[in-house]
């Protein structure tokens, strides 16, 4: 008994090293520090790809997802712990890239649900929140696979629950969770044979561990970065001059629409769907989330005034923020919409106000939607490489989102692309297995019917587009496009980023490898020989067409020469050569 008292006394003396609970500021700092630490280690996470192909970008994906969470937390500028968690959940969801990013966003979403309404977290609360996080992530994945970051998240949650039952304080609990998460990570190769064969631990799990390491350091007060240059300014209100740190330049902003406009709309029975519809043409990055009593509206627009005026008819505006994204330093200033409107009436000669008066509220509310120009079905495709993008567009893709092998697009990027398409039904072609999950979530953010045809490669995307018929309805097209996937075989020629042993091939770093429908089936030192070997495993007697898309590191005559050799060997096949311009992959081949 006396021991315990003295222990508590000791803890109180050392201050930051002992915690009964954490508050909103702690949580925000922990998320920021975890993000920072993962960012510092993202290249290592990238290298943990099962295939030694140079497109491992799990670390980058997770980091970008987290940066978006951090930015959203910065934007809410404090608030309760529950609000910070909500902001992180929303930010990570909007910025989610790749499967690991999507799963991370679901962890945040579950965490936020677990801390709903709370201002402080004690050890028991943290354990509960981590359980809720893991449960949400499992629910989001249709076929959960053990030996992935899901396992790490679940083991962390289990560890936290044990720790809380054992009466550990917050910091001891966090340490235990970290230790058990590391152990779970180390066991991932035992659960997933592909990891074992490649001799790596799961990349997503490693990313999660890095994040947790950074977060725990912040809780202990060990992160020095945060003190020297605050990553976050967690302050109440929307005071001016709140110079938040600009997230890394990798977060791209479209400046077609200049003003990032954000506010809370409070009213009674707010028609969220209608608001989304009516504001759809006001700009991009539109987000209307919330309940029928309070909604958060976020939009990038060139006419924030019109958006505000429109919403004023539906309720009261709060925490209005309009940010000119052209400014280097993100400066938020609260704007009084009423004042702006009054000024507009007085000074009706200024061109800006004339424009406002002429078309503002009407254009948002009663503008006839361009039904006539709308197509029944539009297509968004994902590709990297200007040649491939042009080819996909020429086959009928309305918007090609840059991404795929080296950079997975976020839900937000895909959602924006889907909004751009003038069709109520949009089919998304992910063209990469790591983009399918992201694409599947787009429908939550876009007021259109979204279908995903799960194309895993560019040749599958091409086959799907060839099967597309603009005159048919979505269901018929989905069916035809899905059927088309089975009729094409994909080959890829790239190089190994590290030595490894896969499928019985011993591969040295920088060796050329050939991948057929996701399986390494050729390896060697010579690019053309590997391509020839790969082709020999793809072409059958029934094949009638072999298409080669050559990458940015291959010259046209080299690709032509390869095509001629293939054409000589397979006279029954037509051989076509096209410039794909894709990075990292010398050749992408399709046989049908």
């Amino acid at each position: 008994m006396s021991d315990r008292i003295s222990a508590r006394d000791r803890q109180q003396e050392v201050g930051a090293l002992s915690r009964d609970s954490l508050d909103a500021g702690d949580l925000a700092r922990a998320i920021a520090a975890g993000t920072e630490w993962l960012g510092a280690n993202k290249e290592f996470v990238n290298s943990l790809n099962v295939f030694p192909v140079p497109d491992g970008d799990t670390g980058t994906n997770m980091h970008l997802t987290l940066l978006s969470a951090v930015r959203e937390v910065e934007k809410v500028g404090g608030g309760t712990l529950s609000e910070v968690a909500d902001a992180a959940a929303m930010g990570s969801l909007m910025g989610a890239r790749g499967n690991s990013g999507v799963i991370f966003s679901q962890l945040f979403r579950g965490f936020a649900k677990g801390v709903e309404g709370k201002t402080h977290l004690r050890a028991q609360d943290l354990a509960q929140a981590l359980q809720s996080a893991a449960a949400m992530a499992y629910k989001a994945v249709m076929k959960p696979v053990e030996g992935t970051m899901l396992t790490v998240a679940r083991e962390a949650a289990r560890s936290a629950t044990q720790g809380a039952r054992a009466g550990l304080d917050l910091l001891a609990l966090a340490d235990k969770v970290l230790e058990d998460a590391r152990k779970a990570l180390e066991r991932t190769p035992e659960m997933l044979p592909t990891l074992k064969e490649a001799g790596v631990v799961d990349a997503g799990g490693q990313g999660l561990v890095f994040f947790w390491e950074g977060a725990v350091k912040a809780l202990r007060g060990e992160v020095t970065v945060g003190r020297q240059e605050p990553l976050l300014q967690v302050a109440r209100g929307t005071g001016s001059g709140q110079a938040a740190r600009q997230p890394e330049a990798t977060v791209k902003e479209s400046l077609r629409f200049r003003y990032c406009t954000e506010f809370l709309l409070k009213g009674r029975s707010l028609p969220l769907d209608r608001i989304r519809q009516d504001l759809a043409d006001a700009g991009d990055c539109l987000l209307v989330v919330g309940t029928s009593d309070v909604a958060k509206v976020h939009v990038h627009t060139n006419h924030p005034g019109r958006v505000l005026e429109y919403c004023l008819r539906l309720g009261d505006l709060h925490e209005v923020q309009i940010n000119n994204m052209a400014d280097q330093h993100e400066e938020f200033e609260a704007l009084n919409p009423a004042g702006r409107a009054t000024a507009g009436q007085r000074n009706s000669t200024s061109p800006e106000n004339r424009e406002n008066r002429a078309s503002a509220p009407v254009s948002l509310e009663a503008r006839p939607r361009p039904e006539a120009a709308e197509k029944p079905v539009g297509i968004v495709a994902v590709a990297v490489g200007e040649g491939l993008a042009t080819i996909l567009r020429s086959l009928g893709a309305d918007v090609v989102v840059e991404g795929g092998q080296t950079m997975n697009p976020s839900i937000e990027e895909l959602a924006n692309a889907a909004r751009q398409v003038s069709a109520k039904n949009v089919i998304i072609l992910p063209n990469n297995s790591n983009v399918i999950l992201t694409a599947d979530r787009v429908r939550e953010f876009v007021d259109k019917t979204i279908s995903v045809v799960p194309t895993k490669t560019i040749p599958q995307g091409v086959a799907a587009l060839v099967a597309f018929n603009a005159a048919s309805d979505v269901a018929a097209n989905e069916r035809a496009m899905n059927e088309a996937l089975g009729r094409v075989s994909t080959g890829e020629v790239t190089y190994a980023v590290r030595s490894s042993s896969v499928n019985g091939f011993t591969i040295d770093q920088n060796d050329i490898i050939g991948i057929k429908d996701g399986e390494i089936c050729a390896a060697g030192k010579d690019r053309d020989e590997v391509a020839m070997s790969l082709a020999s495993q793809m072409v059958t007697e029934e094949s009638s067409l072999l298409t080669i898309y050559y990458g940015q590191d291959v010259r046209s005559p080299e690709a032509q020469a390869l095509a001629e050799r293939l054409s000589d060997i397979y006279p029954h096949c037509e051989v076509e050569v096209h410039y794909g311009g894709q990075p990292l992959y010398y050749y992408i081949m399709s046989v049908e």
Binding site: L395, V466, N469, S544, E574, H578, E592
Partner: protein, 283 residues
Amino acid sequence: MGRIAIVTDSTADLPPHLYSEYGITVVPLLVHFGDEVYRDGVDLSSEGFYAKLTSSKVLPRTSQPSPHDFQVVYEDLVSRSDGVVSIHLSSKLSGTYQSAVIAAGMLKGAPVRVIDGRLASAATGLLVLEAARMARAGAGIDDIVARVEDLIRRMRVFFTVDTLEYLEKNGRIGKATAFLGTLLSIRPLLWIDDGEVAPYEKVRGSRQKILARLVAVAKEQAPAGKKLRAAVIHAVSPDEASVLKDAVEGDFACEEILIATVGPVIGSHTGPGTIAIAFHPID
């Protein structure tokens, strides 16, 4: 006397012996190679045309018959028959129908009925043949017109071209513009939908592949359990046409199947390598 006379234009692409056999009057369109002008099917045969097409430096243009050309024909026929049924190339593809309508309007009160076939080539030809057979059997003008209108709705025409270039350059590509500009080589499977060229499907691969697909699509679209009348129409690829004919005969319950050549006017707009299947159920 006591019979209905049948008129069409040279784009109906029926084998010439059928025109003489059924006493069908054919008004020729004109084909221009630079300054040279030919009357379709009169001064210029299909064989002669494709030989010229590959050797000529200029692309051929075509022009519709003048109203006067039709007027002369109608006046003559009206004087020695009970009425005239004049069946033509789709008004969305040619001004021929327009000329015929103007001519008919100049013959005040004469029983001349002009029909916009909303089809092309031997698909129009199949309409003309049916009309001529009814006329020979003594059918009245209203019955013939009603039957032809009915067949127009039930006729299906699927075809492919080697290149969309000809359709595009001549402004006849219609909704198949959707197939233009594809950077990958695709073979277009087209059809005639409501009187104009429309895209049906894109096919990647060999010529054999699209020919097989052409037959498969025709089979999918043919009404089940009905006897058909059909035509295989080719632009100087008789071997492919006979392969296609065999496939169609094997797959369909065909009462009659014609092999026809894409004539100079249609050929100017579709180019060599064009091949089509047209069919309609008999009842």
